[in-house]
Symmetry: C2
Subunit: 204 residues, 2 copies
DNA sequence: TGTTCTTCCGAACCAATGTTCAAAACATGG
DNA sequence: CCATGTTTTGAACATTGGTTCGGAAGAACA
């Protein structure tokens, strides 16, 4: 089906994809021409046509910058989730602090609505090991009210820690999931920063 | 900084983003005009200008379809990973079977090279629970030679299962990570389908 | 109540861009 | 060796699409 590309054709495709990723736009024929130092736009044109014939791209005749990548079409919506090493005491509404990196992932794999406010934390320590959340894991959290049994990020003594949100006799508590941490902290008056919705682990 | 958008402006922005996600292209002023039923392109133009002024988009004057979304720029490269419920015996090179869904995620969060061949499996059962891999987790695997200590997907009795790849006295074995499964299967002559590189869990 | 912002019309202008044609050098495989 | 596909030149053409100007009605705000 998908015919093999020549080196030049691959280079042109890489350029298109790279620009599209960086700017969101497809280069025009003249921009392709300039990038590769062609003396004629026809060089760019024939490469585009070759890519189209080999089904590497889909084009809409006549339209400007109308090159589409079949494998990137109809993708789920992708959200960019900031990853914090820790969250300091303040945590003002949109106060960005200690942001280390960013995870981009489609919302259906994440299981959240597109408008949900999400952030991620690098897990430190083994306090939730019995819930199979390990040191170094990235936990993705949503900003909402916790429900019984949720894993939540809470601000305790100026530090953000993961705990299980449990309710006993109508009163909410926070509980570690590790026999060595028999904590059971009243959840009232503690600041719940988010509810865990997903987890990402890297085995490298 | 980012000023609030009106309903109309939000609708235009949503249309731009939706089209960009579906096709990879930004609608032209005339396409915006047609979609909203405007009688003049100036309506589309003024909305674009409003979005630009409120820093919801960045535009390049004079260029065709040159609207960029600040939050989507300079994103890491994103790969689409097919998720299989199971892998049947065949697993011919590019034989797509039982593909249930697709995970789109940036490669740096995944920790793989862009050209690596990756796929994902829904975990069934608790055989790797001591490695904190749970039933229902999605394991992302790379197609490469296993190294000592890697978690691998192997084809055993026509079924794909996750095991730890261990080497004892120079001989490779496969080992479950659950006391109830004291298996130690010679790895030779077994088909290693992939090496685990990441894990994705949904808490919904 | 005036000012600013939003939203829209209609027509026209012109730059950006896709497209075509005729040609040619070069590789590749049957 | 010939047919086919690749890669490139140079100039011109036609369309797409961004932009402008003048005007206007309504909402929001002070």
């Amino acid at each position: 089906m998908a015919l093999a590309l020549t080196q030049k054709q691959q280079a042109v495709l890489d350029f298109l994809k790279s620009e599209h990723r960086k700017t969101g736009l497809i280069p025009s024929t003249r921009e392709i021409q300039a990038h590769f130092g062609f003396a004629s736009q026809t060089a760019a044109m024939s490469h585009l046509r070759a890519l189209e014939r080999k089904e590497a791209v889909i084009r809409i005749p006549g339209k400007a910058r109308a090159v589409m990548f079949p494998d990137e079409m109809d993708r789920e919506e992708i959200v960019d989730i900031p990853v914090y090493g820790s969250i300091a005491a303040g945590m003002g509404e949109d106060q960005v602090q200690d942001q280390e990196s960013c995870v981009s992932i489609d919302i259906s794999s994440l299981g959240v609505r597109g408008n949900a406010k999400t952030f991620a934390l690098k897990v430190r320590g083994e306090s939730m090991i019995d819930a199979h959340i390990c040191d170094g894991d990235t936990v993705i959290l949503e900003f909402r009210e916790p429900r019984k049994g949720d894993v939540v990020a809470a601000l305790i003594d100026g530090e953000t820690t993961l705990k299980r949100y449990v309710v006993e006799k109508g009163k909410p508590y926070l509980q570690a999931e590790n026999e060595l941490y028999p904590d059971l902290i009243p959840a009232r008056e503690l600041i719940i920063q988010g509810v865990m919705v997903a987890l990402l682990r890297n085995s490298c």
